[in-house]
């Protein structure tokens, strides 16, 4: 019954196989030639950095990787983490962050606060990479640039405390009316809209970095597009930048503090979001560290017997509820039910399984500083233990108040990132089982999730937030009724009043009491349901020391790192 295999008869197949082998041989030769040609083509497009090692003690070079390409090195417009890390290494503002997230003098070596007037005195030896000194005029130009509407900077709001900042940003006043002027080349006078206690801390943000006017204009709109379109006043300068592939920074010998910089070069040789790929590079000895390790990658790390480390990245994650008129979540008892049913410990310890996450109890991070010591030690948040019986009672109250027979499905808006997927699916099943609530997951990708969140098209949504500057106000004003980032449109005059006190008062104790009040209101009014405090797991070559890993400010900083010969 076999099919007539004409080609199966031996002489035929032997002959055919022989001929096939000849053809295969010819093909291999052809492939080799092709490889040579393509190899030459690749070196033209290549990222260089072909055979570097993770650490080189002799040349004082560290090789590492980043997750995403660097989209914007124009400090007036930059808004993402990768750009912030790089900017903090190659440029410097009036103040800068040290490795322990403390603020220390940068370009300004001292400053004076006098009510609504702050005067910064710039260093003598602060220089740009072309040799010219960094002057107060550079700050004036940069701040005006950041605040004018044409620049459309997302972080322009950081400049609102400066006099007329908000008005200029709305297009109501010209940029010259911004409350900053160069009294001399090395004296910068700032006039604030109102006296606030925390202004100097704001100046460490990248939006406040200096930009030199003549250089900016000479680039014809291409400022920060490439290596030659940037001037550097920081510890390093960018010497090679192949977009999407690599970025190399070398020590800036004109930096005023160059003696405390040990490294000669920081080489970012690989760009990919895939953590396993980066771990493989680490294992192969190509890069010196891998951060942002997901929970699933940890087993590989443990098997390899590397040292795992963690740091808090300063972001808090919670479930935001919608307070708009037509939403069920506006009802207090429903919110309270969700809050009482909430078990962040189970979520973090058993579901998300990343040891660097910690269950959250309050919007304010555990690392946030208070008047003396940590804020949460001075003002511990009111404790809401998980209590399913109480939760069900509250749910029943809510049902009666809303006049429903049963609850309709609630929509949970979430991203399509792995953590959000796991979290949302877990939550869906958890609320169904324990409260009998039906949750529909609205899974969106980044842009659409942003749009829906900001338009308020959700009942519940997973949200993360991190501070823009080192003051509790950056957390406390999140739910003020005027804050556009208050996606649920929570509106509580009591909370607003406390936020205003915190904004305007110059008395530290009074401010922190106000923050404590905000913390209390957020919990007792069940405004949000806290989930976790996020941390980052990373591995690092033990010979690399003193890398800055911060919960405030740019998360990763190699500028003050050094290499030892032995671990």
């Amino acid at each position: 019954m076999a099919q007539p295999n004409i080609a199966n008869r031996d002489p035929m197949s032997r002959a055919a196989t022989r001929q096939l082998l000849w053809i295969a041989g010819a093909a291999l030769v052809g492939l080799a030639l092709l490889l040579a040609a393509l190899g030459w083509a690749a070196t033209l497009t290549g990222g260089g950095a072909a055979a570097t090692h993770a650490l080189d003690f002799k040349t004082r070079t560290v090789t590492t990787s980043i997750r995403n390409d660097v989209p914007q090195l124009d400090s007036s417009r930059s808004k993402d983490i990768e750009s912030y890390n790089i900017l903090h290494t190659v440029m410097e503002g009036l103040l800068r962050y040290d490795n322990n997230s403390n603020l220390v003098p940068g370009v300004a070596d001292r400053w004076e606060v006098d009510g609504a007037r702050v005067t910064f005195y710039l260093r003598e030896n602060a220089r740009w990479s072309d040799g010219k000194p960094v002057t107060a005029h550079d700050f004036v130009f940069a701040w005006r640039l950041a605040v004018i509407p044409e620049t459309a900077s997302e972080y322009a709001f950081l400049l609102y405390p400066v006099k007329n900042g908000e008005a200029i940003n709305r297009g109501e006043m010209p940029p010259e009316s911004l409350g900053v002027r160069a009294a001399s080349d090395r004296v910068l006078e700032v006039e604030l809209q109102n006296a606030i206690a925390y202004f100097p801390k704001l100046t460490a943000a990248q939006t406040y970095y200096p930009i030199r006017e003549d250089f900016f204009k000479s680039r014809n709109g291409r400022y920060a597009a490439d290596t030659e379109d940037l001037l550097y006043n920081g510890a390093f300068r960018i010497t090679r930048w192949v977009h999407g592939a690599s970025l190399r920074m070398e020590k800036n010998d004109l930096y005023w503090d160059k003696d405390s910089i040990w490294l000669n070069a920081i080489d970012i040789a690989y760009i990919t979001t895939d953590a396993v790929a980066r771990l493989n590079l680490f294992q192969d000895g190509r890069i010196a560290d891998v951060d942002y390790l997901p929970g699933e990658a940890l087993d590989q790390v443990l098997q390899q017997r590397w040292s795992l480390r963690r740091f808090n990245d300063g972001s808090m994650w919670f479930i935001e509820l919608n307070f708009r008129e037509d939403r069920l979540t506006r009802n207090f008892h429903l919110r309270r039910a969700l809050q009482l049913a909430n078990d962040p410990a189970e979520l973090v310890f058993k579901v998300l399984k990343t040891p660097s996450f910690t269950p959250a109890e309050s919007l304010f991070p555990s690392t946030m500083k208070g008047e003396h010591g940590l804020f949460r030690q001075q003002y511990p948040p009111p404790h809401v233990p998980t209590d399913l019986t109480e939760a069900r009672k509250e749910l029943e109250l809510a049902r009666q108040e809303l006049g429903l027979d049963t609850f309709p499905p609630l929509v949970l808006l979430a991203d399509d990132t792995p953590a959000a997927i796991t979290h949302s699916e877990y939550l869906q099943e958890y609320l169904r089982r324990n409260l009998g609530l039906e949750i529909r997951i609205d899974r969106q990708n980044f842009r659409q999730r942003l749009e829906k969140q900001q338009q308020g098209e959700f009942d519940l949504t997973l949200k993360g937030w991190s501070a823009d500057y080192d003051d509790p106000l950056s957390w406390a004003d999140l739910f003020a009724s005027w804050n556009l980032n208050n996606n649920g449109r929570y509106d509580n005059p009591a909370l607003d009043a406390q936020v205003r006190i915190a904004m305007q008062s110059l008395d530290e104790s009074e401010r922190y009491r106000a923050f404590a009040e905000v913390q209390r209101i957020l919990i007792e009014d069940a405004v949000i349901v806290m989930a976790y405090e996020r941390g980052v797991m990373y591995v690092q070559d033990p010979r690399l020391k003193n890398v800055g890993r911060r919960f405030m400010g740019p998360p990763t900083d190699y500028s003050r790192a050094y290499i030892t010969e032995e671990p």
Partner: protein
């Protein structure tokens, strides 16, 4: 025969009659059958087709009858049994529900200290609910770091997972609730100096927690009839998961059964539909030739060049799929609309090859219309290529479906599908390979079935093999 000229007679062209047959001038060995009948006959006897049929029957049973036999809810999460390997089960002891632990501070513990944090001990027996450690304080410590590893940390200071950073020198206890499983753990406590840097020495403690569960949780998950039936200290049997559990503790076998419905439906129906359309389209274009062919092929190019993801999102909106709902039909339509060009092109290529053949011309002369030519001549000659394409489209579509469900089009969570299970399994494929292995295996089996069926069909339908056995 002799060289006599043979003059044809009209009788020579007459059909053989029974009388002729009996005379043996013409002996038909078997009745005359049509092409399709012959194909069917050969298919039935083809070993590959028979095997594939067996697989198809098995898969159908698995999909349809499976959930009746294995009555486990595919959406039920068991947080305590996340990512357990196949055959997971065992027993657990009933305990009281979790109560927070106040921990231990140096005020409540009166022991001298050394530079090394020593004397780590359990405050109470270790269970998977919590492992509570306390230790003797170290001198001059400003705090402690707690690590946990799954192998001894003595070699190369591989301390493992950093579980906690205690910045209070008076706190000398730690409660671990992180992902506890009934396996051996090595805890390490390292003292921190005044600057927060780790000391060189560290203390190690080895422990294996016992598997426990609260009565309420056991009742919740249906392992016991109700919470009152057991008391603290009783042992309960944990449910058996023959194929293990996934990243949320859901039973793999049950998910595979329910997932088969979506995957097989989409994976079979969609390719059939768009291959069919591609055949019609491609053969028409190939036959028609000229301007029509060019136009049709340019349309095909156009469809291929469209950005897939963008149009999928568009379709989802156009079909009004609400968030959180399953939109399998819209997904099917969208898939078909965007996937037909490759088949069309292939078929057209074949048609171009044979449309100038003699027998086509002859058929035409005899009055055959295009439809007949396509059905009777083209398709049998292109069947090999078509079947190959069909085979390859099945897994491709299954994975596309996974991707679409991922972006919110297709099936909504918690409904499973083989493709989405594979996607999820990728994340943990090194640590828990079974989560990827099983869905991929089932996809392989389905593909194999189609492959074999395709081979069998090809052999059965091949014109030139007709009448050879």
């Amino acid at each position: 025969m002799s060289a006599v000229e043979w003059q044809p007679r009209s009788e020579d062209f007459a059909r053989a009659t029974d009388a002729d047959r009996r005379r043996g001038e013409q002996r038909l060995v078997r009745p005359s059958i049509s092409y399709w009948q012959d194909a069917w006959r050969r298919l039935k006897r083809n070993p590959r087709a028979v095997v594939s049929l067996g697989i198809v029957v098995a898969l159908s049973l698995f999909t349809i009858a499976g959930p009746w036999v294995w009555r486990v809810n595919p959406a039920a999460q068991d947080i305590d049994q996340i990512s357990r390997p196949p055959g997971a089960g065992g027993t657990g002891r009933i305990v009281e529900p979790y109560i927070q632990w106040a921990g231990v501070t140096t005020e409540t513990l009166a022991t001298a200290g050394s530079a090394l944090a020593t004397n780590i001990r359990l405050a109470e027996p270790a269970t998977t609910q919590a492992v509570r450690l306390e230790w003797a304080p170290a001198a001059n410590a400003s705090g402690y770091h707690v690590y946990r590893n799954i192998s001894s940390p003595r070699v190369g200071r591989a301390l493992g997972l950093p579980l906690a950073e205690i910045i209070d020198p008076h706190r000398v206890s730690f409660e671990d609730r992180f992902d506890l499983e009934p396996v051996k753990y090595w805890y390490s406590i390292v003292a921190l100096d005044a600057n927060g840097a780790e000391a060189d020495d560290y203390a190690v403690f080895e422990v294996e927690p016992a598997m426990v569960i609260t009565a309420e949780e056991a009742a919740d998950r249906g392992w016991i009839a109700d919470a009152g039936a057991v008391r603290v200290g009783d042992m309960v049997a944990l449910p058996n998961h023959p194929l293990g559990t996934d990243y949320l503790g859901r039973d793999m076998l049950s998910r595979l059964m329910h997932g088969a419905r979506v995957s097989l439906f989409i994976g079979v129906v969609a390719p059939l539909l768009f291959v069919f359309f591609g055949i019609v389209y491609g053969s028409t274009a190939g036959f028609a030739g000229g301007r029509i062919d060019q136009l049709m092929m340019r349309v095909a190019d156009f469809v291929v060049a469209l950005p897939f993801l963008l149009f999928m999102i568009l379709f989802r909106i156009a079909f009004g799929v609400q968030p959180g709902e399953s939109g399998v039909l819209p997904m099917l339509v969208a898939l078909v609309l965007l996937s037909w060009p490759s088949t069309a092109r292939l078929v057209r290529g074949q048609v171009l090859q044979i449309r100038n053949e003699g027998y086509i011309g002859a058929s035409r002369l005899l009055g055959a219309r295009t439809g007949y030519l396509v059905f009777r001549h083209m398709i049998p000659n292109t069947i090999g290529v078509i079947l190959v394409t069909l085979t390859f489209e099945v897994p491709r579509v299954i994975f596309i479906e996974a991707f679409l469900s991922f972006i919110g089009m297709g099936v909504a969570p918690p409904t499973p599908s083989w493709g989405s299970m594979s996607n999820e399994g990728i994340k943990t494929m090194l640590a828990h390979p079974h989560e990827l292995l099983f869905p991929a295996l089932f996809i392989s089996v389905a593909v194999l079935a189609f492959n074999l069926l395709g081979d069998g069909l090809r052999d059965a339908l091949d014109v030139r093999l007709r009448g050879r056995e």
